[in-house]
């Protein structure tokens, strides 16, 4: 591994800064996100305001690509009428 390969790129530094901007003291983890993501998806599709618990789902989705991928798949299913 060349030393320059270990250097963080401008894009990566931008990503970390973005992550820090989204970081709050109280966050939910992936398990809690899974528990509430259905409620969040339904609220979003119905354009309903979200409460505190599911607002934390939105924040988790902004930081966790895996949970976001699953959320987007769930929305696809709900949009299909299931």
């Amino acid at each position: 591994m060349k030393p320059e390969d270990q250097r963080m790129t401008s894009e990566q530094v931008g990503s970390i800064v973005k992550m820090l901007a989204l970081t709050t003291d109280r966050e939910i983890d992936c398990t809690e996100c899974l528990q509430h993501v259905g409620e969040f998806a339904e609220s979003q599709l119905a354009n309903q305001p979200v409460g505190d618990v599911i607002a934390s789902v939105e924040q988790h989705l902004a930081l966790c690509p895996e949970c976001r991928e699953e959320y987007e798949a769930l929305v696809k299913i709900l949009r299909a009428g299931l």
């Binding site: 320059e4 401008s10 970081t23 003291d25 992936c30 409620e39 339904e42 769930l74 299909a80």
Partner: protein, 204 residues
């Protein structure tokens, strides 16, 4: 009776084995149909995979019935669980060929010094100060495992792979990442760098 008219928690717990079996069969079909829609277009997912994911998802749903709080439709809650089963398995398959040696090398590399190239600093004074503070914090305020977790994320390793690298659980790994982000944010705050400074310096 439509899926919306079924009282799922009651039907799935029914003591009448015929009623319960019927509800289980309908739910399995629904989950499989949902997975087919969600995973449509992925060349590596066959109908047999969908069946396996639906069956595994169904078992997970039945196992967690007590956790359903009724805050969404039951089927939405169940579909989210089946999707989690399917995506976890697909991610595991994508990474199963990565050898343990390669994984350990990644871990070693990521736990090493996190260098930020000088050209990231830029000409803007605020940005230079922010990046210099961040560089110092990454190198001095984080544990090697926290650094590995943060850099693993930046290099887009799947979270399950980061969990493996850290040799811990998903929850513990998420907490480790969260603590690392909080430590970095705290350091920026101490240096008088505000959220607005961050947004301006990086045009967020």
């Amino acid at each position: 009776m439509t899926q919306n008219e079924i009282n799922w928690p009651v039907a799935l717990r029914a003591t009448d084995s015929g009623e319960q079996a019927a509800a289980v069969a309908v739910l399995r079909d629904l989950l499989q149909h949902g997975l087919r829609i969600a995973l449509n277009g992925r060349g590596n997912v066959s109908e047999a995979h969908l069946e396996d994911f639906a069956q595994e998802g169904l078992l997970r749903v039945l196992d967690r019935l007590d956790q359903f709080q009724g805050r969404s439709r039951f089927t939405t809650w169940a579909q989210a669980i089946a999707l989690n089963v399917a995506f976890t398995e697909l991610r595991r398959k994508r990474w199963q060929d990565v050898s343990l040696d390669a994984l350990m090398a990644d871990g070693e590399r990521l736990a090493g010094p996190a260098m930020i190239a000088d050209d990231v600093l830029g000409a803007d004074e605020d940005r230079t100060r922010l990046v210099a503070t961040l560089r110092h914090a990454i190198e001095n305020d984080l544990t090697p495992k926290q650094r590995a977790a943060i850099l693993g994320e930046l290099r887009e390793l799947p979270f399950d792979q980061i969990v493996k690298l850290l040799g811990t659980s998903r929850s513990a790994a998420y907490k480790m990442l969260h603590d690392a982000r909080r430590a970095l944010k705290h350091r920026l705050h101490e240096a008088g760098i505000t959220g607005a400074d961050i947004q301006n310096a990086f045009n967020l």
